[in-house]
């Protein structure tokens, strides 16, 4: 019924996926003309953001499982369909992607080398991310999963830092190996479902009805889990992230931490959990413990870093540990908190990565040993740094707190020990974040030098993020509202 109703509608979801793709192609056609490429990329991502905003405002509320659904035959011989489906969670992720991409484009404004390719890759990445967040056919999902991987690989290996080759290869190998398991599990599920019903299909909604034995379910779930856990990343599969985030170019780090990491957790929510409910139920306790281990391990490791970017990379892992913990709690409030935390973490840590890039541009260093006293030299930049750091350490009234407290409140209902342990992690989050703040903006100025404060372009990047951080901290209601129905459905069993 949903499908029929949405048929005459304008294909907004396809537009979200195809617009950046078109922008990327246009950028390549204009290679050699840097200014045009920049304008083109900005215009494209503005348009995508406009569409996402429109969907948020006009289609944010709806009855039933899906807010928007697009379905048409693609490769019918193998039962592969072109299915894009948007629920409340996808809506938030799409909005976050469109928003962060704007910042990434602005941040990449100063890239000098191979401008057209850089922007084309960024836009291709956006297209891939949109696809991951919207696809509801396994083949389609897998396709975008890999599509999002390739631009990031090139972004790191061409425009990255000193050890970019190694980092890019590590990133590529980890995620590729992970997704290989997913591919195998996917095909196995396809065969099992086809064998049972005679209908060979990759559409997730139909695969939900597959009857699996416990062993089958366990193995298939493990296959999907491999891809999602590596991408999330949970300890001990996280070392690719620290290297990749440290070496990636600024815009790449922003997309990687703000968006690409979320795809793993999103995959859990959208694909793995609904398809394999029994295996999920068995696995949740392990997932919770893994999340806690990750939370603490990363928080402790972060404390020991000198490179700001590496510290932030670890802080990302730590935060995502909390997100996964919320999912493992399998409780409405905790889930909504997790999803909100994904969004807020994307914004705050993304903004911090932007700031690190700006600091690097000005001082040519990312080492806390060589930084300090930025408050006196670049007060506006330092103010934003302070604001986002505080948001990241979970200060009430700023964005991350809203997500964190929901996760903790929800988790405590059924798993008080988890919540208490996670709360202890808050102290360590404060420890490394305060060390970061102290090392970067307080203290004596490392060198007497006059540094330029924020330019209008940089204001344009940071100010909306800052406003959003405060808004999400004080009034997250508009962003929670689309989640209620979706999360309740997913927790109840996830059948459409």
């Amino acid at each position: 019924m949903t499908m029929l109703a949405s048929l005459p509608q304008f294909p907004w979801l396809s537009l979200l996926v195809l617009l950046p793709l078109g922008g990327a192609l246009l950028c390549l056609l204009h290679s050699g003309r840097a200014a045009e490429c920049r304008a083109l990329a900005l215009a494209t991502s503005l348009a995508v953001f406009g569409v996402a905003l429109y969907l948020f405002v006009c289609h944010g509320q709806g009855e039933g499982r899906w807010l928007l659904y697009e379905d048409s035959a693609w490769i019918s011989r193998y039962g592969i369909r072109y299915v894009l489906a948007m629920d409340g969670i996808a809506l938030l992720m799409v909005l976050l992607t469109a928003f962060m991409q704007l910042a990434a484009i602005l941040l990449a404004w100063k890239v000098e080398r191979q401008v057209a390719s850089f922007f084309a890759l960024l836009l291709l990445l956006e297209s891939g991310l949109m696809g991951i967040f919207l696809a509801y056919d396994l083949v389609f999902f897998y396709l975008f999963w890999e599509v999002a991987l390739i631009p990031m690989f090139f972004l790191i290996s061409i425009w990255g830092g000193v050890n970019r080759r190694r980092a890019a290869l590590k990133f590529f190998l980890y995620t590729l190996v992970g997704s290989f398991f997913m591919l195998v599990a996917m095909i196995a599920l396809y065969q099992i479902h086809g064998g049972q019903t005679g209908v060979y299909t990759f559409v997730i909604g139909e695969l939900l009805q597959t009857r699996l034995t416990a062993t089958q379910e366990g193995w298939l779930f493990a296959g999907f889990l491999a891809a999602f856990i590596v991408k999330s990343p949970l300890v001990p599969f996280h070392t690719w992230l620290t290297d990749a985030l440290t070496e990636a170019p600024a815009a790449g780090s922003l997309d990687l931490t703000g968006l690409l990491l979320k795809t793993g957790i999103y995959g859990l929510i959208r694909v793995a959990f609904p398809l394999f409910p029994n295996a999920t139920a068995n696995f949740l306790p392990i997932l919770g413990v893994l999340a806690l281990v990750g939370l603490f391990h990363a928080a402790w490791s972060a404390y020991h870093q000198d490179d700001i970017k590496r510290l932030l990379a670890y802080s990302s892992i730590s935060h995502l540990g909390l997100v996964v913990l919320g999912l493992a709690a399998w409780q409405l409030t905790a889930w909504e908190g997790s999803i909100l935390l994904m969004v807020t973490h994307g914004i705050t840590t993304g903004a911090l990565f932007i700031l690190v890039a700006l600091i690097r541009e000005r001082t040519a260093t990312r080492s806390m040993q060589e930084l300090g006293g930025l408050w006196g030299q670049v007060p506006c930049l330092a103010f934003f740094f302070l604001l986002f750091s505080l948001a990241s350490l979970g200060l009430p009234g700023l964005a991350n707190f809203a997500g964190e407290i929901l996760v903790l409140l929800g988790t405590f209902q059924d798993h008080p020990v988890w919540a208490v342990v996670a709360l202890l992690g808050v102290v360590f989050a404060a420890a490394y974040m305060l060390r970061l703040i102290q090392g970067v903006i307080w203290g004596p100025a490392a060198k007497e030098r006059s540094l330029p404060d924020l330019t209008p372009r940089e204001w344009l990047m940071l100010l909306p993020m800052a406003l959003l951080v405060v808004w999400l901290g004080l009034y997250p209601e508009p962003f929670l509202a689309p989640l209620h129905g979706t999360v309740a459905t997913l927790l109840a069993g996830g059948l459409p």
Binding site: H304, G373, P396, I405, L406, F412, P416, V427, G443
Partner: protein
């Protein structure tokens, strides 16, 4: 008047803080200063206007929904009730005077925008704590004051020690916040609500074991903010901040937030005798600990910081003894006289040429304006508890509550309280003598003291001296106004025979006098500080920092190093690199097959061809043709 206008009380300072933060440095200095003072003074006036709303059940105002998910529904809501109203009045009133003082204090500092913004933001956060209707809003203020404290302790950020002191304060208080957070989660899981009143109403239904645990968690949370043992190490270092900050945050308001929290949850906490005893014990321990430390301190502000901890310890004891009115009474008088002492200390430091060490002062009564000495003395006699001052009555009320408590163990706490009172009188007058008596021993050049740094001291000094009138005990003819104001919230009715009361009063007076006499005997003429092991032990605060360092900080750093280098670098990356090396060594063996020579490839091809043919042959032989 519209209830939601109540929000103006905290929002006015917030508004001024935001304006100062964003535009403070671009506006004329005068504007920023006026803005800062107006915000707080406006809140004070508003509190007076709204005073009537606090009577009875109080007034609740809801702004908008903050978080709504599942069964959770938290709004930004304020509750202006009888407990909150005096506290609000005190916070805004003292803050107004301290802001005025700060205008004078900061008149040479260039970074005034940030200073006043943070100070106003602090007042906002403090008011949020005081007025919060639910735990989450309270937590917002709770963390907010911590943030402002952090920012203001490290205000002169160019000296790394200041920034480090701020970080330490934030971290140690955050440890306490974790316990408060756990209590918050647990209370929500138990009662399904975060509203403080609703929780207190349902408290009786909670199993007693859980009540004990919850109360202890709340206590630990309070300990963090109020610098009580074991989370007390940050307060002395926090004196690195500007003096108005010490006066406002680290004496009058923020450090008493813990006491206020316990008073807020008194209906819950008082259900458990164990928890009450624990609260009293913590208070007693801190009181005596801090008093001993204060005796050996050399920096004027550190003496006052330790005395603050000690006095807050009294307030904890009062809560533990079951008298909310007594705790709040001491909280109010202490806020007045300790603010005076800090502000006067700021003037003293100015006079001594930015010298902090009391052993390098002396004779300041004659060097500076004479009124300074009188004001400082007014604060000192309150602190020492000389009869008829505000401090005397409030402290006496607490000792009486301890003495009359039915549980005999409270007699021990009472003894500790009495002993602490003796020590307090001693170190207070030690301070007075060392700073004001004798000849000047320092080398600094005095700075002029602006007018604005002088006159805000007077009202506070008078309030401190006359603070006893707030809650004058009945047997000396007082009306016990505060007690009656709180009504049902006031806690246990402390009743004793007049003889006991008179006896205790006489004892308190005698003790204060004894402390004074001891100090007089020891410090009337200058003697250099003792340099023995005991005084070093006390000077370092019982080596608490070293202990924390050894027990927590170093293991944590080692753990961090292990996680980062040991686990990630060596174990995980090392395993993977080893695997990669293994594969690449196989690969280099295989690569030798690729000689690049045509003949090798051709003969390999031929061998393969032979194998295929041989296979066909075998099949033919076996299968006998088609």
């Amino acid at each position: 008047m519209n209830h939601s206008l109540l929000f103006l009380i905290p929002l006015l300072p917030l508004f001024c803080a935001v304006i100062n933060l964003l535009f403070g440095m671009r506006l004329p200095r005068l504007f920023a200063e006026v803005m800062a003072v107006t915000g707080v003074a406006g809140a004070f006036v508003l509190t007076l206007i709204f005073w009537g709303h606090a009577e009875g059940e109080g007034t609740r105002a809801v702004l908008f929904t903050w978080l709504n998910s599942g069964t959770l529904d938290v709004s930004f809501a304020l509750n202006f009730d009888r407990l909150a109203a005096p506290m609000t009045l005190m916070v805004t009133g003292v803050a107004t005077l301290i802001h005025l003082y700060a205008v004078g204090y900061m008149h040479e500092d260039d970074d005034y925008g940030r200073f006043f913004a943070l100070l106003n933001l602090f007042v906002f956060a403090m008011l949020v704590i005081v007025l919060a209707d639910n735990l989450l809003v309270l937590f917002l203020g709770w963390e907010g004051v911590g943030l402002c404290s952090y920012g203001l302790i490290g205000f002169w950020y160019r000296k790394l020690e200041n920034a480090k002191a701020g970080t330490k304060a934030f971290l140690v208080t955050r440890v306490g916040d974790v316990f408060l957070g756990i209590a918050l989660l647990w209370l929500f899981a138990l009662t399904g609500t975060l509203s403080i009143d609703a929780i207190n109403d349902q408290a009786a239904a909670i199993p007693s074991g859980v009540v004990i645990a919850l109360s202890l968690l709340l206590l630990l949370g309070a300990c963090g903010k109020s610098a009580q043992v074991p989370l007390m190490t940050w307060l002395a270092d926090a004196m690195a901040g500007p003096t108005p900050v010490s006066a406002l945050i680290h004496a009058a308001t923020m450090v008493t937030a813990g006491v206020y929290l316990l008073c807020r949850f008194f209906p819950l906490v008082s259900l458990s005798a164990v928890a009450m005893t624990a609260i009293t014990a913590i208070g007693a321990l801190t009181a005596i600990y801090a008093a001993t430390c204060a005796m050996a301190q050399r920096e004027i502000k550190r003496v006052l910081a330790y005395s603050t901890m000690s006095q807050v310890g009294y307030m904890f004891m009062a809560v533990g003894a079951g008298t909310v009115a007594g705790a709040m009474f001491h909280l109010l008088t202490h806020a007045f006289f300790k603010a005076v002492l800090f502000m006067a200390a700021g003037c003293v430091i100015h006079l001594a040429g930015d010298e902090n060490d009391i052993f390098k002062m002396g004779g300041l009564a004659r060097r500076g304006p004479v009124e300074l000495f009188w004001v400082f003395l007014a604060g000192a006699v309150c602190l020492a508890g000389l009869p008829l001052t505000g401090g005397f009555f409030s402290k006496d009320g607490i000792l009486l509550a301890l003495f009359t408590h039915p549980d005999p163990v409270y007699r021990v706490f009472w003894l500790v309280g009495v002993l602490t009172a003796l020590l307090t009188a001693f170190y207070t007058f030690r301070l007075v003598y060392l700073v004001f008596a004798g000849d000047y021993r320092g080398a600094g050049h005095p700075h002029a003291i602006p007018l604005l740094m002088r006159w805000p001291l007077w009202p506070l000094a008078l309030l401190g001296l006359a603070g006893g009138l707030l809650n004058l005990p009945a047997f000396v003819g007082g009306g016990e106004r505060l007690h009656h104001w709180y009504g049902a919230l006031a806690g246990r009715e402390v009743s004793a025979s007049h003889d006991v009361e008179w006896m205790l009063i006489a004892l308190a007076a005698a003790i204060a006098a004894a402390g004074w006499l001891a100090a007089h005997w020891r410090y009337r003429s200058y003697r250099p500080p003792l340099e023995n092991r005991a005084s070093r032990f006390l000077l370092s605060g019982w080596q608490a920092d070293a202990l924390v360092d050894r027990l927590f900080v170093r293991p944590f750093a080692a753990m961090a190093r292990f996680c980062s280098s040991g686990c990630d670098r060596t174990l995980l990356d090392g395993t993977l690199d080893g695997l990669a090396r293994l594969v690449s060594s196989w690969a280099s063996m295989l690569v030798q097959l690729t000689t690049g020579r045509l003949t090798t490839y051709l003969s390999a091809f031929a061998w393969g061809f032979l194998i295929v043919l041989g296979w066909f042959l075998i099949k033919l032989v076996n299968g006998g043709g088609h």
